[in-house]
Amino acid sequence: MSWHLTPAQAHEYAHHRSDDVTAMSVEAHITRCAPCRDLLPDDEAWLARSWADLRDVVDRPRRGPVEFLLSRLGVGEGTAKLLAATPGLYRAWLLATVVVLAAALLAAHHLPRGSLMFAFTAPVVPLVGVALAYGRGVDPAHALTSVTPLSGQRLLFLRTSAVLVPALTLCTAAALLLPSARTPWSAVFWLLPALTLVAGSLVLSRWLPLGAASTVVGTLWLTALGALTASGGTEPLQLLAPQAQAWWAGALIALVCAIAWRVRTA
């Protein structure tokens, strides 16, 4: 190359003050001459901004499938992240749920009065899931996350819904496969008790750790069923009969009101 830019030429060019012909010759030159390119003065603020914009695109972490799906369903970006980030035990619970429900179905199809097993377990499944989704002991990062503004109530309820959706779906699917399943009613008879148990454990978690609260509620449920079975006087399925459902609904409404009141005052 026979010539190079003078600093003055570089300056003129960079500030859009070169005439057409000079600009053309400068351009022909700097396409191949790195030292002359470096003569152009940098606008540091613009460079930093431009790089930040660029980095934001090239360095965006990939979203997991759950997060992606949730965003597609219109869930807010941050909320989707929180919902997708359920602790490891939750996955184990999901697997265990499938196994337990499959066992219940087998029992229902092959054992006399086998469908009782489903009636016993279905309302407990969401309860166990909720207990495994939040709190010290089951959530490894609990110590780190528990003192953030969003943790506590809000995170607990988010996690609860992350549990309830798959739990209710799985139980409904299982209920539809029951030998007695002929009516829409038989697919959802367990629903109100299940929700009531979860709501009960959430209310109790005001005073107890969530895991302990769920254990208490779950034990109560199983004890009641066991007692009814043992006494032989009344059919345990009475607890799920249409007349009993009204009581469940009443209890659920009361508990939900208690939760709402607690969230309000929280």
Binding site: A52, R55, D56, D59, R60, P61, E77, G78, K81, L82, A85, P87, G88, P140, A141, A143, L144, T145, S146, V147, T148, P149, L150, S151, G152, Q153, L155, T265, A266
Partner: protein, 287 residues
């Protein structure tokens, strides 16, 4: 200024676990700057930090953080938005990436929309030197890297109150120097409490030292004042002073002796200027 309360204000703080008392009637006022929290294992350091982090509720007494009452839920959320906490031995979701974990923490800390949050996450990774490993799964990070990640999580959003429980465990010397730079920088504006066994960190960083023993404050002052207390208790001696003394052999063959009582110089005992570590040993060992 006198009407303003300290960012961390503690009166009569007591915390019991069953019948065991971990903290008993603590009074503390902490201001912006770095305060070192020293004490043996079980002295109550972690319990104090968890109480200050709004993680544990006091059994008795009163805590005010940034002028607010952490026992009221609404105020607690406001406090938490301006508080950073690194727990002892922090655990993470191993299948998260470093970036993903900080991003998750940033959502929980409500640090704005995606772009602002990601920029803050990147700044956090840069601060602790994890930029190159940002997309690595946490289970593939070394212990020191996880510790730095926890630190970055605590630092997100430049909290006004920063509580660090043994933050330098697992850090190599270079990382520790870097950590000191970070913390001292934050200490200009924020109230930083640093619980540690690393006396060098306290000597290098802290304007103030609080020593706990069995749930009580046994010393509260500057590192200089702690050293002053030890003056006249630290000696060099030609031979081993005998059992019952805290002593160790120095590189030059003489013995460093710590005497709980300010005993007069005996033959061969030469007074030495105490280090902060020796002063701390005297404070806890003398009891």
């Amino acid at each position: 200024m006198s009407t303003l309360s300290a960012p961390v204000h503690v009166r009569g703080l007591t915390r019991r676990y069953g019948t065991r008392t971990a903290l008993e009637g603590l009074d503390l006022d902490l201001w912006p700057g770095v305060t070192g929290l020293l004490g043996r294992n079980g002295a109550g350091k972690t319990t104090l930090l968890r109480c200050l982090a709004t993680d544990l509720e006091p059994s008795a007494g009163r805590i005010r953080l940034l002028g607010r009452d952490p026992e009221r839920a609404a105020e607690r959320a406001r406090i938490r938005a301006r508080l950073g906490y690194l727990p002892q031995n922090p655990e993470f979701y191993p299948y998260f990436t470093a970036f993903g974990l900080l991003d998750y923490m940033a959502v929980l800390k409500e640090l704005g929309g995606r772009r602002a949050r990601h920029d803050e996450v990147r700044r956090g990774l840069e601060r602790v030197g994890l930029t190159d490993r940002r997309h690595s799964r946490i289970r593939r990070l070394s212990g020191g890297m996880r510790q730095r990640l926890g630190l970055a999580a605590a630092l997100l959003g430049d909290p006004e109150v920063l509580l660090l429980d043994e933050p330098t465990i697992g850090l190599d010397p270079e990382q520790r120097i870097r950590f000191r730079g970070l913390v001292s920088e934050l200490g200009v504006r924020s109230t930083v409490v640093l619980s540690t066994h690393q006396i060098e960190d306290v000597a290098a960083l802290c304007q103030r030292v609080v020593c706990l023993d069995e749930g009580r404050v046994v010393f509260d002052g500057t590192p200089g004042e702690l050293v002053d207390r030890a003056r006249g208790h630290v000696w060099d001696h030609d031979g081993h002073p005998g059992r019952g003394h805290t002593a160790w052999r120095l590189a030059d063959g003489r013995y460093r002796v710590l005497t709980p009582t300010s005993a007069p110089a005996g033959p061969g005992l030469e007074p030495v200027e105490p280090t902060l570590e020796e002063a701390y040993l005297l404070l806890t060992g003398a009891r």
